[in-house]
Symmetry: C2
Subunit: 345 residues, 2 copies
């Protein structure tokens, strides 16, 4: 039996087994320096046979590079973020990077702590996802000056990958107008300090104006509750509204996010208004479950996975120095996904 209680072996052991020095092993494995084919072959075989894996710790320590990137996100359970992360992960795998995810529970303080922690891990760079409005400056605590890329968050002097929330929301209004809707309600949040949401609201108003429609604050339902449990918040607001006013004042409704749109659909349906028969609904984000809802949700797609991929690409090219990090942000295209929840007025 060759494999009884073999302990983790290190480069020295391997060197001894191959009858060469550690530097030869190192070079054979990394290909940095030329090693006689026969020797190299032998080393590779031994490494294979014994499942040799160089210690990330030792290597990281001596090279000051780890092939690890830190990803910071507010919430591991939010499908929007996890889809972005999937994009990052796919790209990272391709280039042999490991990602480590820090989650902040939407909290600025925890965000900073996670940053510190991952920084101490000697990550080669960061991708920071999401649009919390933080008060501390990353550049101040980024003592190792590793590259930073933001996704879905705009930070001065840092590269980000974004969508144009305002324009995207305008498109949603345009779309509804093209379906001949004249009274379009809006359900969302205000005062969150989340710039993306503010931009969406702006887009709603701008879209109305562009299409010659007047803004009516009565049918613009905004909550300033904490950002969580959006489904119930949206449901509650709209349900109350419908009980008091019926649905005569609008023929279409935009949810600031898909979850909000779901809440609205349920409120509508529970108040016996047909979607899309009496009221059309459109959401924003195109999260997974909008394919499953009843009716399937028409929504504004954010290319989440692609955002992650592109963010990762930007980061990796900055890390590997192919080009100096570009502080320009990239904006990705959004598009309306027509499904079942919106129809002709």
């Amino acid at each position: 039996m060759e494999n009884e209680t073999k302990k983790q072996l290190n480069i020295k052991d391997l060197a001894r087994l191959a009858g060469v020095s550690t530097s030869t092993v190192s070079n054979a494995l990394s290909g940095r320096r030329h090693v006689k084919p026969a020797t190299k072959q032998k080393i590779l075989e031994l490494a294979q046979q014994y499942h040799y894996q160089p210690s990330v710790m030792a290597r990281g320590l001596c090279r000051q590079k780890t092939k690890i990137i830190g990803v910071i996100t507010a919430d591991l359970y939010n499908p929007y973020y996890t889809e972005v992360i999937k994009g990052i992960d796919a790209q990272a795998k391709q280039l042999g990077y490991t990602i480590v995810i820090g989650s902040t529970n939407y909290d600025d303080y925890q965000e900073m702590e996670e940053f510190r922690k991952l920084n101490a891990l000697c990550v080669d760079g960061f991708i920071i996802i999401g649009s919390q409005n933080t008060h501390f400056r990353f550049s101040e605590i980024n003592s190792r000056k590793v590259p930073l890329v933001f996704v879905d968050r705009e930070v001065k002097n840092h590269p980000s990958v974004l969508i144009d929330n305002k324009a995207a929301m305008m498109k949603a209004v345009d779309y509804l107008c093209s379906l001949r809707h004249k009274k379009i309600a809006y359900v969302g949040y205000q005062g969150t300090n989340i710039i993306n949401l503010e931009k969406r609201l702006e887009g709603y108003k701008a879209g109305l104006k562009k299409n010659g429609l007047a803004f009516n604050s009565k049918i613009c339902l905004l909550s300033n509750a904490l950002l969580s449990n959006e489904f119930n918040v949206a449901y509650g607001m709209l349900d109350t509204y419908l009980k008091n006013n019926g649905c005569a004042s609008f023929s279409a409704l935009i949810g600031e996010a898909d979850i909000i749109a779901f809440g609205c659909m349920r409120a509508l349906q529970d108040n016996h208004v047909k979607v899309p028969g009496q009221v059309s609904v459109v959401g924003f984000d195109n999260i997974h479950s909008s394919k499953f809802s009843n009716p399937r949700l028409t929504t504004v797609n954010q290319p989440k996975k692609k955002m992650g991929k592109i963010g990762a690409k930007m980061l990796f090219s900055a890390i590997e120095g192919h080009r100096k990090i570009n502080t320009n942000s990239v904006y990705l295209k959004t598009v309306i996904v027509e499904r079942e929840s919106a129809g002709l007025a």
Copy 2:
């Protein structure tokens, strides 16, 4: 300005600043050895002021412990897994551990690779989530002999946290029977080698028998498609069935997982059968979106977050040696969450 281009400083720098040796700094920070209060105070202040963070790499190298645990999961985007991970994460944060997640895309080979990679990172232990039926033995490649805990997966000689899938599914049948249903359909997968799913099917059959109902293969719809896109697979199977046979042959239906139940609800609704009016539907898992569906899904809850938490606790106590790792599995309770999709026959 005190903070201009200060580079990352290390323990030596700090020692110099404090006028003491590195070992004193180390001891002051870790508290392992006693340090004169005044000195300690000074060191702590300096550390604070300069945002000193000990290098995880260096520490990991010399202690062979990293306070990092590896979490391996099939799919970062699957809400079932991410909820488990949230539980792990919460527990890890509390104990000062960092988690690093490896994703395998449901692939055995990738699972092994992730294990290797994280092992090279010198993680202190692993939590492996999900029920792929892998063919390699972890114990063989676990060269550093770190503790392993499985969640939602049974592995011989290793501790796991599980639910009793068979019993849980029986409960679902019981529940439907208590609603006086006599003809209960089942939609799921077969031949996946995923033991949990096989147990669920067993539970369905056992539940039928227990309630004096005959198993009818006509209304047990099983797919052997690849496990992905379950919504559409379920939708397709049931839609075809309904078009050919109508829905007279059953008054209730169990989806092997919530997503499957969603697919079934849509197929039912698109074929103009009312849920729960004509057919009651119950799912399994209680993922987030089952609260949002229309109708809201009645389903079997798995305590996912708790499973993660408990798995993490087991792992940490094994790591810290409070008790020898227990190879006994723990089974958590499942419960039916009554919502709207199931009613009296």
